[in-house]
């Protein structure tokens, strides 16, 4: 089977769509031109796989402005010829992205990221621009964007959102943002703050992710080399700390189906896959009822003899030579993930087979 682009990463002005053929272990890519400027953030619509948003730098009159926009990929890329991986320069007539609309934020400053409504119909996005969180409604098959509501971070000094995440829980009415060392939760219905974890990290918070299966659990990472797991009902203390990286942690991601698997990428050039069993939704191995898995599990008896797993580092991936800025799980295969480093190297890895079977069986 073929995976749909687990990660789309941007090199200046280009978007590469990487296809990974799992059976033949072949990587192929398509290149799309992104002429508007260098891309700082990218995210794909959950409803339409051809639609994506980017945040990009636009340089005009020796000013650098970061803007957001919604794009549609040309229809040909999917059926188009895949380049062979050993001939990267053979990018004949790269196609352009089709601009659907700008997320015009001239009054609100630089967009740092754009978030799609998780599992939505591709009609709602949130953009974080300086100290504003803007909720956009996309209409007319995403060709028009209007601000439906907004929230502003007030405080002394120049406050600026550095990261955000739209919670998939509570009917997608919550948003978590990071600015400096604080993590804030927002209620999108009233656009008001619901919690604030001051000094969540010793230094800047770089990334956030929601546990897909436990609605109050949140992971964060930052410049203090730590990954912290929070229960937002009790924000005084983190539930768990991970201190495995030796430099800033730039990205943290929960596995979409097995939330004990946590992926982190750091500027110490490492990617670490951790197994946080104790705070996952399956704390003692597989706890699904017998009825549910009667067809899938034949050798169910072995499970009972299994020891509960301890929190542990599953493995450390050191293929990167420079800082790793992004890690992402495949949306198609829960055992596949990719990481991207500064030098443009994309590494695709699999969860170790032994662990995979341990979790499944």
């Amino acid at each position: 089977m073929e995976d749909d682009a687990p990660v789309i990463y941007g090199l200046e002005f280009q978007i590469h769509i990487i296809d990974f053929d799992d059976e033949n272990n072949i990587i192929s890519k398509s290149v799309l031109q992104h002429q508007a400027g260098e891309i700082w953030h990218i995210s794909a619509s959950p409803a339409d796989k051809a639609v994506l948003t980017t945040c990009y730098n636009k340089t005009s009159e020796s000013r650098v402005v970061t803007c957001g926009a919604v794009w549609r990929m040309p229809p040909e890329w999917e059926s188009g010829s895949h380049e062979s991986p050993d001939d990267p320069h053979n990018s004949h007539n790269p196609q352009n992205l089709e601009l659907l609309c700008h997320l015009d934020n001239s009054s609100h400053g630089n967009a740092s990221c754009v978030l799609w409504e998780p599992m939505g119909d591709g009609k709602c996005v949130i953009s974080l621009a300086d100290n504003h969180a803007l909720l956009w409604d996309l209409t007319e098959s995403s060709t028009q964007a209007t601000i439906s509501s907004s929230a502003t971070l007030e405080g002394k000094g120049q406050l600026k959102f550095t990261a955000g995440k739209w919670s998939p829980h509570h009917n997608c009415t919550q948003l978590a943002t990071a600015n400096d060392t604080a993590i804030r939760g927002w209620d999108l219905r009233t656009m008001s703050q619901i919690y604030c974890i001051e000094n969540a990290h010793g230094q800047l918070v770089r990334d956030l992710d929601f546990n897909p299966n436990k609605q109050y659990y949140l992971a964060s990472c930052g410049d203090d080399c730590k990954v912290k797991f929070w229960d937002v009902r009790n924000i005084n203390e983190p539930v768990k700390n991970l201190e495995e990286h030796s430099h800033w942690v730039w990205s943290v991601r929960y596995n979409h189906s097995h939330d004990q698997l946590v992926l982190t990428g750091s500027s110490d050039s490492r990617v670490i896959l951790s197994n946080m069993v104790s705070i996952s939704s399956e704390p003692f191995g597989h706890l699904v009822d017998d009825d549910d898995l009667s067809d899938a599990e034949d050798n169910h008896q072995d499970e009972k003899t299994k020891e509960p797993l301890q929190d542990s580092i599953i493995s450390t991936y050191e293929e990167h030579e420079d800082s790793v800025y992004a890690v992402e799980w495949s949306s198609a295969d829960p055992w596949l993930f990719a990481s991207l480093s500064y030098d443009g190297r994309l590494v695709i890895n699999r969860v170790p087979r032994a662990l995979k079977y341990h979790i499944l069986l």
């Binding site: 200046e12 020796s62 000013r63 000094n199 010793g202 500027s267 030098d343």
Partner: protein, 840 residues
Amino acid sequence: MDGDINASAPATTPPDSDPARKRRVHGMLKLYYGLNEEGKTVDQAESMDPCDINGPHFDPEVYLNKLRRECSLGELMDQESCMVKQIRSLDSDMQTLVYENYNKFISATDTIRKMKNDFKKMEDEMDCLSTNMASITDFSARISGTLQDQHAQITKLSGVHTLLRKLQFLFELPARLNKCLELQAYAQAVSSHRRARCVLQQYRHMPSFRGIQDDCHAIMDKLAQELRQKFRDGGSSAKDLSECVELLLQLDEPAEELCDKFLSHAQSRLEADLLGLEAELRPPLSSGPTAVTDPYTGPARRLSVEPTAGSPTGPTSLNNPFLFPSLRTDILEFIDRGCNEFVSSLCLVIASYQELFVNRPQEGELASKNIPQMAIGKLHAFVDALATRYFSLVERRIQEEKSVGDNSLLVRALDRFHRRLQAVAKLLPGSAVPSQGTEIVVRAARERIKQYLAALQSFYLNSLTDVRQALAAPRLGGSSAGGGSHLGGPATGKDALASLPELLSTLSASILNQIKSVLASVHLFTAKDITFSNKPYFKGEFCSHGVRESLVVNFIKFVCQSSRQFCESAGDRGGSTPPALLLLLSRLCLDYETSSITYILTLTDEQFLVQHHSPVTAVTALCGEAREAAQKLLNHYVKVQGLIISQMLRKSVETRDWVNTIEPRNVRAVMKRVVEDTTSIDVQVGLLYEEGVRKAHSSDSSKRTFSVYSSSRQQTRYAPSYTPSAPMDTNLLSNIHKLFSERVEIFSPVEFNKVSVLTGIIKISLKTFLECVRLRTFGRYGLQQIQVDCHYLQMYLWRFVSDENLVHFLLDEIVGSTAHRCLDPAPMEQSVIEVICERG
């Protein structure tokens, strides 16, 4: 008759020689009188031969025949003549013997005849005597016959006389008893009564005796009453009392009751003592927590000012001398009073009790055997009950003894307490009291150790606060030494820095002194002249578990732990701990690891002669802990200092508009500040840590590597990077470059030396710089400014690190990344950069 044979035998055999013949004659005589048994047997053995002329079995026929057969005629003739000669000589011998003895026979016969005459005379006299005697006997029989009647009468009379005297005694007894009662001669009364009691008992069926008995009983009851009264009043001396008891016992009073009474009487007195003691305890308890807490807040201050001296009443009385005038007797006084009043009277009671009930010889019918056992049982219960109360009082008092200033007082008090209980132990061997007392002492000692640990801990924390203050306000410390160097920031900073080693040495010295003084105080518990020091607890467990483990080892652990807490808390709450303190503590922990722990533990072991029966914490384990703490502190120091510089760099990169910056003319001030700060950190660390080892230290390092850095590597990397058509080349080159360089661990543990620490800090700072640069977009002049800044850093930072290539590598990366992020990457001429940097 035999004599005839003998006489005839020698006649037939002539004697050989004179002496032999004589002997033979004597032998014959002897034989005759049966004198010589042995000789006879010998003779017999010799003379069985019938031919032996001298033997008794001599047979003349055989002899003759033998001679005739064996001898010639001549020989026979000779023999014959010889024989004749011998016979003749024997005859003459016999004649002389007969002649010699004849006279004696004559005189003997005379004597016998004379004796016969004398005896006849004597026989007559004896006859006369016997007749006289017979007449005497006759007379005497007649006299005694006449006297017999009178004698019987006299005997009877004397018997009546004694009976009458006894009766008189009996009849007079009530009166006599009364008189005794009046005179209070109880002992006499009792003994009189005892003498009469049996008789009265026996003849009670006779009305008169019954009357006397009743009278006596009435009187004796009265007497017993009086005695009991006296006993109950208790005012009397112990001797009186014991006399009382003795008399009462003799009066068949039930011993059990007496014991009870005696004890209850004693109890009332002892309880008065106890109440007195309790009264001493009470005022401080009722007058609130101030008195109790005061000495508790006191110790740290007092410890720091005056570690060993000082009286325990000091802080309280200082605070409020009028409210509590002499309200607290010190513990020695308290125990003294307890010993003198309670314990000594308890001993007295025990002694007299035992005298009365237990040890007295049981006489006659009183000796119903269970009295001593019963009495001892009662005594034990009594002593136990009272001792429990006494102990609870003592314990309460000991618990109040919280000031740790002067331990000797407590130890002396405990010693006295313990010593006095030994008296009880001697008096009452099976009692649990002394062992309970020992337990109290043990508990007190344990408590004491805990208090000392707490005092040490608070002392440590206080000294840390002092150090903190000294670091925060260096002018106070520096003004005395530094004089007029009030030139603002850098000067005060240097003062603080200069005092770091002093602070360290004073800190460690004061801690060590404190430990020593505490050890000395605790050592009092095991001094030789203290009675309880030879108890097994104080010999073993107190030394090993108490002092070594709970006091010394726990304190060292506490030092390590509290140091580690600095790392943990400070990391999350924004670094409230000054970095210099971290550095200082790290060095302290390291010193502990290398020497102090061993020293302290050796000192302890020597002082307390610890015999490690049970497993104790090993020196190496403690050292490991200290080293871990030192490492953690130093790592944290590096992190904090790195963070400070990082923040500076990050702010400088983030706040600037790098696209629209002007052409660089100077090194930015931030970079100078970074170098300045790094230098001062270098000085600071250098005060406490050794230099450390550098890799590849070249004499003209800056110049040489600079050229490599600028011309060759940088140029080759730049060239393709600003031709957008070939972006892969840049990646390829940088990847190839990275393949050959080692991965840089940014927040990695550092070693205990200056170079390693500085390397850590610089690594963190430059990596931050790198990451920040990558988030920005640069114009042409932005890139050039970064080039200038990096070159400046390059010039100054290489000297601090262990491996200068590391600095080069990171700076390369920074410039390379900037070039990547540059809209118009036109690098500045190397010579221009140099000029700008030289200018500073």
